[in-house]
């Protein structure tokens, strides 16, 4: 089960905080920091800290480090270092711990970690954050070590009590058994004694063949609460005395509030306050409806600021023009592309374009804040709890340890909740009132004040030998630095933002001569990571273009790829599996086609085949999707399949509908009526296969999204002969184009393949 962290009257919250597992992680910090020694494994470090001199901050039980709390009575608490936003990480991380701890998923409950970099820093991201499909990769070793160390100490405590050698004892389902005598003690009974056991210097992790949980499709711990309405998301928090607010920020980026007339608002029944910020106005009411009515009644005059004329067509033009005017930053140079191009039998080049995208998490952006003179308490679902804490401390002037973050289940993250912009705004609003306030953004506010996946304009080319195989590959990626969002001083000129080329610099294929660079162009639009991060935009270009090369060589797109994968057996394995399961090569009616994509991302190898039919009027009907992933050892194969299924839908939504545009400085989309989502009637059957593997686990959550758009674009080409080099795919170009092999020239000259 998932525990809904403390909420309620502040007094009660405080008491639970002091008495429960959540605060405990806080309480042990002082001790654990003292005990840290450079170079030690985080889990063991944490254990040493927790079991040092401190009596565990008032928690009467076994608190080995940051991840495990075993009280003398009641279920074991697992503190998940990563946040649950649908990817199943509470279950996956609990499985890693419980495999070694020897406890069942039905014997534990999982809570979100409080902000604490010392205990919960993500080793790959190097901060306490959840994103980039890094969670399992980072947790794989430390969480198993934490479970093993705790088990060793519990067994040690039992052995001491029985005065027998520890090696005669085993543990299973939270019970220690002394084999020769058959005596047993539960973990609960051992909790106090285990605290006094020496922390093991080293732990032996299980041989994978002995795993009883890892690798099994175990039921998710958070599912029951998500089918009966009892799961609590940030937006569901209710604190006594709380009011509800909604907010309107200046519709143009960088604009400000010039004047507010709130006379009509104050007459709306249930409206309590109107709060003004430099760039936004919030209306507070007894409930959301009052706040929303009140906001609608406001008469706000905006000072639209420097971006009042912002226009997406111009942004795209600037991105295109940056090629040739901006000095590119080198990302990869192997071999000699110039010489290879000089000798090529055929040269091919194309420009690809990708739009701005919004995240549109299903749970609208919200934060509940109570600012008091001496403390600030925040209830929110965030991917970056320490960043949220820091911004709240800065915003209130309170010391960091007076800001309490109660992290909640996230109704979707997709990168949106890697930003704490809305949390900082909520604190600024809450500071001006004396009561706790829940700030909820309308869907319109969410779409129009997102931080967007930036647009890209990439120029790619290749030289082919007489057999049509690539001898040179040149990829100029053009777009913004997303990392710059996180660097207060900006991303330095001339320095590579690795995210910009993450899926371009190392394609899965053998290219003897490859050149990849980044042409930086930052638009005046707030940008952020979006599901699939760097690879989502790079791989659309790489995988569409390799398909172009296969067709230019008159070769089968799967066979062509396999020819280039002789040194990449895992990618080849995933591709073969997807091809075989999808019936690749089988006959299809006219106007139908299959498209394939392949990528190595986040430590995994993913292939996807989609079969579509295109109607006379250019409508795309998706018939069937098959995906295969080699993600190393799959901790929970069912969660892996679910992530692939969902990630593909997320990517197809963008490929078919996703586009944020700007006109006169404003975002032109506002809600699901004009920022469309894929729906049930459009979603074809999706089969997801996991390639059996014993390699270390790779990332999964982002991968399906990366696969989707290029596979669909390639299927459109197979069905119609039309190569669409920008998404959302323009179906007007497919009118009457479904006759096999007929190549209709592109509408836009910039998007034509250049063949010399």
């Amino acid at each position: 089960m998932v525990d809904n962290p403390a909420y309620g009257v502040p007094e009660l919250a405080r008491r639970r905080f002091l008495g429960g597992g959540l605060l405990l992680a806080f309480a042990v910090v002082g001790a654990s920091r003292k005990a840290h020694a450079a170079g030690e494994e985080p889990s063991l470090r944490a254990i040493q800290g927790a079991t040092g001199a401190s009596p565990h901050g008032g928690f009467d039980g076994f608190a080995p480090g940051g991840f495990i709390r075993i009280p003398p009575e009641g279920p074991i608490t697992i503190i998940a270092p990563n946040v649950e936003m649908g990817q199943g990480i509470y279950t996956g991380e609990a499985m890693l711990i419980c495999e070694e701890l020897e406890a069942g998923l039905d014997q534990i409950h999982v809570v979100a970690a409080p902000p604490d970099e010392a205990l919960y820093k993500q080793p790959i991201l190097k901060s306490q954050a959840t994103g980039g499909s890094t969670s399992i990769r980072g947790a794989w070793t430390p969480l198993r070590q934490a479970g093993a160390a705790a088990r060793t100490m519990l067994i040690g405590a039992a052995a001491q009590q029985w005065k027998v050698p520890a090696r005669e004892c085993t543990a299973k389902r939270a019970v220690v058994t002394h084999r020769p005598s058959g005596r047993t003690l539960t973990y609960s009974a051992l909790a106090l004694a285990a605290s006094h056991q020496p922390v093991p210097k080293d732990v032996q992790l299980k041989d994978p063949k002995d795993f009883t949980m890892i690798g099994k499709p175990l039921p998710r711990v958070d599912t029951p609460g998500k089918v009966d309405g009892s799961a609590i998301f940030g937006i569901d928090i209710r604190v006594p005395g709380m009011k509800v607010a909604t907010v309107a920020a200046c519709p143009t980026f960088g604009g400000k509030v010039a004047h507010v007339d709130d006379r009509a608002t104050r007459r709306v029944p249930g409206v309590r306050d109107v709060v003004r910020l430099p760039n936004a106005v919030a209306v507070v009411g007894d409930h959301f409806w009052a706040a929303k009515q009140g906001l609608a009644a406001l008469d706000i005059t905006w000072d639209h600021g420097p971006n009042a004329m912002l226009d997406s067509a111009e942004i795209i033009r600037n991105l295109r023009d940056a090629h040739g005017t901006v000095q590119p930053v080198m990302a990869r140079q192997t071999g000699d592309v110039d010489t290879a191009l000089g000798k090529a039998a055929k040269k091919i080049g194309a420009d690809y374009e990708l739009p701005f995208l919004a995240h549109a998490t299903m749970e609208p952006i919200n934060t509940t804040v109570h600012v008091r003179a001496d403390a600030c308490e925040i209830w929110v679902g965030t991917q970056v709890p320490t960043m949220a804490q820091k911004l709240a401390a800065d915003g209130t002037g309170l010391p960091l340890d007076k800001v309490v973050i109660h992290n909640q289940l996230l109704g979707g993250g997709f990168g949106r909740r890697l930003s704490a912009d809305s949390i900082a705004q909520a604190v600024a609003i809450a500071k001006q009132v004396s009561y706790p306030v829940k700030i909820i953004w309308t869907r319109e506010e969410d779409i129009q004040h997102d931080q967007y996946r930036p647009a890209y304009y990439d120029r790619i080319s290749a030289g082919l030998d007489a057999n049509g195989m690539p001898t040179a590959w040149v990829d100029h990626v053009g777009g913004a630095s997303v990392l710059a969002t996180y660097v207060p001083t900006g991303w330095p000129e001339g320095k590579l933002d690795p995210d910009a080329v993450e899926g371009a610099a190392k394609p899965p294929y053998d290219f003897a001569n490859i050149h990849v660079d980044w042409v930086r162009a930052d638009p005046p639009v707030p940008v952020l990571w979006w599901r699939g991060v760097g690879p989502t935009h790079n791989v659309f270009v790489v995988e569409s273009f390799i398909d172009e090369l296969a067709h230019a060589a008159a070769k089968d797109p799967v066979a062509y790829r396999l020819d280039l994968l002789r040194n990449n057996p895992r990618a080849a394995g995933a591709l073969k599996m997807a091809a075989e399961k999808s019936g690749w090569g089988g006959a299809l009616p006219a106007g139908s086609g299959r498209g394939v994509s392949l990528h190595d991302s986040f430590g995994s190898h993913v292939a996807m085949v989609i079969e579509i039919a295109v109607t006379e009027t250019g409508e795309i009907k998706m018939k069937r999707i098959v995906a295969a992933i080699d993600c190393g050892l799959a901790i929970n194969p069912d969660s892996v399949r679910a992530q692939l299924e969902g990630g593909i839908v997320f990517g197809l939504t963008a490929a078919l509908y996703g586009e944020i545009t700007f006109q006169n400085g404003r975002v032109m989309q506002s809600n699901f009526n004009n920022y469309r989502m894929l729906r049930m009637n459009e979603t074809p059957p999706i089969e997801a296969y996991v390639v059996p593997s014993s390699e270390s686990p790779g990332g999964v959550g982002e991968t399906g999204t990366v696969s989707a758009a290029p596979a669909l674009g390639n299927a459109i080409f197979a069905a119609t002969g039309q190569r669409l080099r920008r998404y959302p795919f323009d179906r007007t170009q497919l009118h009457g184009a479904h006759a096999e092999g007929v190549v209709v020239s592109s509408r836009d000259a910039a998007q034509k393949t250049r063949v010399d």
Partner: protein, 150 residues
């Protein structure tokens, strides 16, 4: 003041009659299982039953509820169909983030009450008003079929 019958109980609600049912449920009664997703009848996150029929509570003024029975996700498991739907959702691990799932389950339970053995077209018609940003559609379809069987 208005009186609504929700999950078999009468509630006196002190709010203007134009207030959508969603906000009475969530903000006045604390029934937070029903979700806000769009506010314009586009996503289905706020779906509840009115005398067994699925409605989008974000655009349904309380004045329009009258004396009809409101059922929310918190009580749908007390009906035979709702219970089967929830069991199938658990068995097939449908939810990801879970935020849309209250609405999905309410739409599915209403479908199966009306059409105990739905074909794919029935599922499309009944479920396409419910968005799932996590993309759980294939499992929702499978779970509806499983609930219909069991």
């Amino acid at each position: 003041m208005m009186t609504l019958r929700i999950n078999g109980q009468s509630h006196v609600i002190d709010a203007t009659p134009d207030m959508p049912l969603l906000w009475a449920l969530r903000d006045l009664l604390g029934l937070t299982g029903t979700k806000f997703g769009c506010g314009i009848a586009q996503c289905g996150a706020c779906t509840v039953h009115l005398d067994g029929n699925p409605v989008r509570s974000c655009v349904l003024p309380m004045a329009a509820v009258g004396n009809r029975d409101v059922t929310t996700i918190e009580a749908v498991g007390e009906t035979a169909v709702g219970k089967k739907v929830q069991a199938a959702w658990v068995a097939l691990e449908v939810p990801q983030c879970g935020y849309c799932q209250s609405g999905q389950i309410m739409s599915a339970a209403a479908l199966l009450t009306r059409t105990p053995e739905p074909q794919d077209e029935d599922i499309d018609a009944a479920m396409s008003g419910n968005i799932c940003r996590c993309g759980t559609y294939t499992r929702i379809r499978a779970a509806i079929k499983q609930a219909a069987k069991g």
